[in-house]
Amino acid sequence: MSVRVYDIAHARAGDKGNTSNISVTAYDEAGWQTIHRELTTERVLAHFRHLGAGPVRRYELPQLRALNFVIENALGGGVTRSLAIDPHGKSLSAWMLMIDLPGHNEGAA
């Protein structure tokens, strides 16, 4: 079944220059298996591309059931010069959580 990242994980966004750093942490093992398998750099890039963002790098921290995404060019030129209402992109964590993923199995352990 398909699942929204929001339902299985939580996220936090931070910035450095024009790069957004968004972590995604699964609530449980089933959620971890799904985000680890399905929340790919390609999917994240497609979701953030309208911001002019990319490339995207993904780091895995299995012991924390967490992924760390580093999304370049996501902040409208960077915190200090962006015209955006949220130049830090702190709200982008919520955008990450809007991604829909296929193949979630609640019973997975």
Binding site: H10, R12, G17, L61, Q63, T80, L83, K90
Partner: protein
């Protein structure tokens, strides 16, 4: 004799951070040290400009208000303080504190000042340096440079405390170093003991954003609950001489400290977890894990340290023109269409005045302002605010943006209300370069001697 354990609290995580939780952690946290991080990437550029206008200024503007609340209860308890509120003028900060502290009941204390992070002269002498962001030569920014500061490490903070100072005031120091410095000083750790430096840096990284570790930036009603978010307490770290670290927060305060909040803050602005570069070490946090020892008490495991790099990072602040912006609200039937007409009217009026902009951004607040998503796909809200922001090198053109938006009250579509003209703001942007460590000469100066 060196202590076996110290306790370091965080008293502020950004320049305008809330003061009451800082007072609370001082009064109830049983701290040995208090660190306050108040210097965002570009703040120091603005404070360098303040100093140019008035040589006694250039420290963090909230310095006196914060210290009046923090210093008396801290000094009374023998808590030593380190802060980067010196910003562009650490000695100026120390001097103004000395002037006011007796009125706060602090007639007698010792203050060490860290200087030498400012490297504008070095920048001018090395226009060939390549900017980290785009590889372009630094030369292109030099005519517009407002500030340049190297991120110093924990060694200078420790040297500050080694003078016996109760208070160490710095300019630009890496945020985690404000926490690692007291550890280096208290335990006499070798500056090459990377296992310990990694643990201390990890603790500093977790603590430096104050309430973001303890339930701030976290709550989602019905999904992720935070107990008494209004009474959010600031975090503290118990550090042992062997490098062990446990994190907690002000006893009896609100908030939440557990594996979930620690995981979010661990990865906050970390980028590559295998190589978090600080002036003190390269932290490999990829194997970090957390153990919940009790409610609001977490042990840190698995930090690894690699040798520090041969360079300091320098952040260069530079002028990047002006930004003008304004907002106007619409509500009720056809609100979005009226907002869109308002946008077209403002753009056309600016065009007919002959004003041009290198970049213009249009938002419909309530529909697409935060994520720039496709407004056509968003459900039409009952009310919406149009926002127009534009960049230009001409201050008058920047001022015109908000003025034209605000005049929609009287000369725009029907039912335009709640307009705001945010005026023109001078943009101070930042870029970075790396320079060899030996070019930078930090020094510790006692405030009395100034």
């Amino acid at each position: 004799m060196a202590p076996t354990k110290i306790r370091i609290g965080c008293g502020a995580g950004f320049s305008d951070d809330r003061i009451p939780p800082g007072v609370e952690i001082v009064e109830r946290g049983e701290l040995d040290y208090l660190a306050m991080e108040c210097l965002a990437e570009r703040t120091i550029a603005r404070e360098t400009l303040d100093r140019a206008k008035d040589p006694t200024k250039g420290y963090t503007p909230v310095l006196l208000e914060r210290m009046e609340a923090i210093m008396p209860p801290a000094l009374k308890r023998g808590i030593k303080i380190v802060t980067n509120m010196g910003a562009a003028n650490p000695m100026g900060a120390a001097n103004i504190l000395r002037k006011h502290a007796p009125d706060w009941g602090c007639p007698d204390y010792s203050c060490a000042v860290v200087r030498g992070d400012e490297v504008t002269d070095i920048m001018r002498a090395h226009p060939e340096l390549a900017l980290m962001e785009d590889g372009a030569p630094l030369e292109s920014l030099l005519p517009r440079m407002a500030s340049a500061n190297a991120y110093l490490g924990a060694d200078v903070v420790a040297q500050g405390f080694a003078t016996g100072a109760d208070l160490v005031i710095t300019g630009r120091v890496a945020d985690p170093a404000l926490f690692l410095g007291p550890m280096l000083h208290a335990f006499g750790w070798s500056y090459d003991d990377y296992a310990k430096l990694a643990n201390g840096t990890l603790a500093g990284h977790l603590l430096e954003c104050s309430g973001q570790l303890t339930g701030g930036c976290f709550a989602d009603p019905g999904k992720k609950e935070v107990e008494d978010l209004a009474g959010l307490g600031y975090p503290l770290a118990d550090v042992w001489a062997d490098g062990r670290v446990e994190i907690s927060k002000t006893p009896g305060s609100g908030g939440r400290l557990d594996i979930a909040t620690c995981t979010e803050q661990l990865l906050y602005e970390m980028h590559d977890p295998t190589a978090y570069i600080t002036p003190d070490c390269v932290l490999d946090a990829s194997g970090v894990s957390f153990r919940q020892l009790a409610k609001d008490r977490v042990a840190l495991d698995g930090a690894r340290g690699k040798p520090r790099t041969a360079t300091y990072k320098v952040v260069v602040g530079y002028f990047d023109g002006y930004m003008g912006s304004g907002e106007m609200g619409f509500a009720g039937t056809n609100a979005v269409a009226r907002a869109k007409l308002g946008i077209e009217v403002v753009k056309e009026r600016l065009r007919r005045r002959g004003l041009t902009y290198s970049e213009m951004r249009i938002d419909l607040i309530g529909m697409n302002s935060l994520h720039a998503n496709d407004a056509a796909l968003a459900p039409e809200p009952y009310e919406v605010r149009l926002r127009i922001a534009a960049r230009t090198t001409d201050k008058k053109a920047a001022e015109a943006v908000g003025a034209e938006v605000r005049s929609l009250h009287m000369q725009g579509p029907t039912g335009a209300g709640g307009g705001v003209n945010f005026g023109a703001r001078q943009i101070l942007a930042v870029k970075s370069v790396l320079i060899p460590r030996e070019w930078v000469k930090p020094e510790i100066v006692m405030e009395r001697a100034a």
